[in-house]
């Protein structure tokens, strides 16, 4: 039985446990359209797609403490069930999810997910890029995620997230997560992630925390792997992040230290590299928001693991302006200057994004 069918059946089963509670629904549509122009191009690979029209659909069906929650992304180059989770609100501060989830060690993705409207910049930091867009870290897992929050140090709040699930595999096209709509779990191994963070209040975004993850990523069908006979990569991540969010300013910084062990039947090699970014956003008069982002890496040039990802961004500067011209609709202009492992390019992007609830 497909996992998606299993989750639907579980929802119906759980609904009996919430007898007396009404069924409740929510639907959120986040469409966007983007045009990209690339110039000063000296890199063999720049962008997979130059135009993206997409609609991100989120739905919730809830009865009592049980909910079915999903995110389906339809664009001019893909259609995918990005998240599909059955949730149980175990206590007021703890929710247990099973299904396909976004791993919690990516602060950016765990906050913004796929909808373009809710992120200020058009692009996400490359370290948090999705697998099908050349991303280097696993983002989609299928398994269990437990999110919790507790009071700590007086009015502060300790938030935790732990998760374990089927990790992506490495293919010639990059990382490939387990697909709920076309399930094939033959090669996928279980990976684990965890994050812990402290926040000065329950409803504030400001805070800081630590991240950790360990994944075994089997290599399947590589014709010219960077390590002859590559069988799998053991990837371990340790990270730290901080967010300062006030009325006019928002500053977000994340750094990951990665340890990759590349294993073949005859040998294995270990390496370390680092990746991270700092983004600053400033609200301006007339519903404008300016933003700057600096992405960087350490020891990336020597990494064999990163050679698996030809679009990997070694360093990037991003500058842009967003205009929320009417309620729930925004126009964003963004300029980027990017250095990959093999070259350099610049790009300009224009995006319309919206949210309809």
């Amino acid at each position: 039985m497909r996992i998606s069918h299993l989750l639907l059946a579980s929802t119906l089963l759980c609904s009996h446990l919430a007898r007396g509670d009404p069924w409740q629904y929510e639907l959120l549509l986040m469409p966007s359209a983007q045009a990209v122009g690339t110039f000063h191009r000296q890199a063999p690979v720049t962008e997979i797609v130059d135009e993206v029209v997409q609609i991100d659909t989120l739905f919730t069906v809830q009865r009592g403490p049980f909910k079915l929650f999903g995110e389906f992304l339809l664009s001019d180059h893909e259609g995918d069930l990005e998240r599909f989770q059955l949730g149980w609100q175990a206590t007021q501060d703890t929710v247990v999810w099973i299904g396909r989830y976004h791993q919690p060690t990516s602060v950016w993705n765990h906050d913004h997910h796929h909808g373009q409207y809710l992120q200020t910049s058009i692009t996400r930091p490359f370290v948090d890029e999705w697998e099908d867009l050349g991303g280097i870290l696993p983002q989609h897992f299928t398994g269990m995620l437990i999110e919790s929050g507790h009071k700590a140090f007086g009015s502060w709040r300790l938030r935790t997230a732990v998760a374990g699930g089927l990790a992506p595999i490495i293919t010639p096209q990059g990382l490939e997560p387990f697909d709920l709509l076309h399930p094939d779990s033959r090669h996928h191994q279980v990976g684990f992630q965890g994050s812990v963070s402290l926040h000065p209040g329950e409803l504030t975004e400001s805070g800081f925390g630590l991240l950790a993850a360990t994944d075994e990523l089997p290599a399947i069908g590589l014709t010219a792997p960077p390590l002859p006979g590559l069988d799998h990569a053991d990837l371990k991540l340790l990270g730290a992040f901080g967010i300062y969010a006030a009325a006019e300013w928002k500053i977000l910084a994340t750094w990951y230290h990665a340890r990759a062990n590349l294993c073949s039947p005859v040998s294995s090699t270990g390496e370390n590299f680092g990746v991270g970014y700092v983004e600053a956003e400033r609200r301006l008069p007339h519903d404008l928001t300016g933003f700057l982002r600096w992405e960087s890496s350490a020891d990336a040039g020597e990494s064999i693991y990163l050679k698996l990802f030809p679009m990997f961004v070694r360093q990037r500067n991003v500058l842009g302006l967003r205009w929320d011209f009417v309620s729930h609709q925004a126009l964003t202009l963004q300029l980027s200057d990017t250095n990959t492992l093999d070259g350099h390019f610049s790009d300009i992007r224009l995006q319309w994004s919206a949210a309809f609830l």
Binding site: A18, E26, Q62, G64, P65, K67, G87, L118, H328
Partner: protein, 144 residues
């Protein structure tokens, strides 16, 4: 006679210059398991966060039957502007699949919804509660 005039003048000055005082109250169905709800829980509830009583989530109903109530809701209950509130609701749906409070633009519809669900929580003018035995007041949220 002079003394009487002075007393009359003082009474006139002390008399209220506006209609009788108003209050916005937090209300539930009469048999609701909700006995009390502090202001932080009320704020969380109307921001879409889960607030549980006996393991079941409460259902917030937003009363939009008049403009002044909207203003009081934003200033006193959720303590943010309408645009920030809208964004907070979007973030909750996007991150956690939280449900936004159901909105009612007519008081009669709100009262019907409140009566139909013992887990629902709403707010209204105290004068609108009147002597309705099906509705119980939990606390005063705002008074002028």
């Amino acid at each position: 006679m002079r003394r009487l005039l002075t007393i009359t003048l003082i009474l006139c000055l002390a008399a209220p210059a506006r209609p009788a005082s108003q209050a916005v109250v937090l209300v539930v169905r009469a048999d609701s398991p909700v006995r009390e709800l502090d202001s932080v829980s009320v704020r969380k509830l109307f921001l879409g966060l889960p607030v549980l009583i006996n393991g079941s989530p409460l259902h917030p109903l937003r009363n939009r039957s008049d403009a002044l109530l909207d203003e009081i809701f934003l200033q006193q209950i959720v303590a943010m502007s309408q645009s920030n509130y809208d964004r907070q609701i979007l973030i909750g749906v996007n991150r956690q699949g939280w449900l936004r409070p159901t909105e009612y633009h007519r008081l009669s519809d709100l009262v019907d919804a409140l009566k139909a669900d013992s887990s629902s929580v709403s707010f209204m003018w105290q004068r609108d509660v009147g002597h309705n035995a099906d509705i119980r007041v939990i606390r005063v949220l705002w008074g002028d």
